[in-house]
Symmetry: C2
Subunit: 276 residues, 2 copies
């Protein structure tokens, strides 16, 4: 692992790092904020998964998470949204390929060679964090935005013992039934829609995967609310299966980091209680 | 004035606006954050002047000012750092011309046609804010970073009755004696160095301009500390002339928005006390 950037901020250390990824078969980049408490003791870890078109940089610059992370003593890890590079298969659209890994392990070439973000986020990256930083790996939680909210929820639902808590900002709740998701899942996973259910939050809940609770913040003026987010499907699935969903709708808020940053401190405080 | 962007954030409205500027003889862009309190009553105004290479966008995205501005009910106005456009004279360097107006009124062509950021910031922009927003213009304060910290201090020193308070992040304290400043002042103001003193904080203080107090935060690992900032000259001038300078040096912090954002809430709270 190479540290490519380091800035002191809010009393902690904001790093950007690169490493050779086995899961993604290319160099991967992520950011990690080490709160001041990590200088002297192992700290809990909160992963933040970003949305379509983003890299680690968007939330690192615009997420406004460091004040709360320093207050609560939580390490914040922000991976990229896909593999990248000259040799990585891609399409010239914003909703597939580079910047749009959808947090799946692809089974279809040419994508399966690199697009294994599910294994990257749930296995390879945590192992690297455990090795390189003063992290308490028995206390991990996960959150994310949009495609990354989808990612956070599927990671938690598929690994309920790994994460202490899960939250999301404007998450894609049932990607299989969206234009974005069906395009991506067809190319990453193939045309057999049964295989898609392993990476679709609403389908996972319907199929019996469970976490005790989910916190979701959602802008009421989000331009993707009806076509991409489809929050009502999450509400129904959680109600049917006894998952305690706290859904907070916010009048006037959109899908941007102006929305995310407004509620970031709340999410960190909420996770902090559950991380102990 | 045209509103080109509007995002709800931290309970308020984050706007970007453009307008035809008389002072700068071109279209100018700025951002303004209206806290929720501005919906029902006139609110105090804090101007934030940005540094070399920046536009309104850097601090608007990375400054982390909205939570504190909403808490204290302060309007935050972030102008651009220079005139811009096809017809605006420029040089292809980061430290002069576009992105580097140095908050002076130029007297030398071709720059005098557009580079009048001092009049823009102290007169035209406040008049526009008063006309367009629910602002209490009897309560204005000013802050800024680097070149914008220089700008904030000269604006306050030259207009002590206009601003209730002034603070700065890593300000250029004595630009006349720096490579950046002497290059810019020669081109904007001419070779007669006596004219430069009207736009140099340390010179203005030496010449008897006065404010009661200045708050400055400074990173101890700022790469420009010795060559560009020269904070010790400000300390000496303030001590000699009885200005109460609160200078806070921060071990490890650099010149970036990771530094600025760490202390932004402190500055807003400090100004809030003085804005009443």
């Amino acid at each position: 692992m190479q540290i490519t950037n380091e800035n002191i901020s809010h009393g902690g250390r904001q790093l950007v790092a690169t490493h050779d990824s086995d899961a993604c078969n290319c160099e991967m980049k992520f950011s990690v904020f080490l709160p001041p408490q990590a200088e002297t003791k192992p700290c809990p870890v909160l992963y933040y998964l970003s949305g379509l078109t983003c890299s680690h940089a968007n939330v690192t610059e615009k997420g406004e998470f460091r004040a709360a992370a320093a207050e609560h003593g939580i390490i914040i890890v922000c991976p990229d949204t896909s593999p990248r590079g000259e040799n990585v298969a891609d399409e010239d659209v914003y909703f597939f390929g580079t910047g749009a890994g959808f947090y799946v392990d692809s089974t279809q070439e040419p994508y399966a060679t690199n697009y294994n973000m599910y294994s990257y986020v749930t296995q390879e990256l945590p192992a690297l964090i455990a090795k390189e930083f003063n992290a308490d790996m028995s206390s991990q939680s996960i959150t994310g935005h949009s495609m990354g909210g989808h990612g956070a929820m599927i990671c938690a639902l598929k690994n309920p013992d790994m994460y202490k808590s899960v939250s999301a900002f404007a998450p894609i709740c049932a990607p299989s039934g969206t234009d974005w998701g069906s395009n991506a899942f067809t190319k990453y996973l193939g045309s057999d829609k049964k295989t898609w259910r392993a990476y679709d939050t609403v389908a996972l809940i319907e199929d019996g995967n469970k976490v005790p609770e989910i916190l979701v913040d959602q802008g009421a003026s989000d331009e993707f609310l009806e076509t991409g987010i489809r929050i009502s499907l999450l509400e129904t699935a959680c109600e049917d299966k006894g998952i305690d969903l706290t859904l907070r709708m916010h009048e006037g808020y959109d899908h941007s980091y102006y929305f995310i940053s407004s509620f970031m401190a709340d999410h960190i405080a909420w996770h902090a209680k559950r991380l102990g």
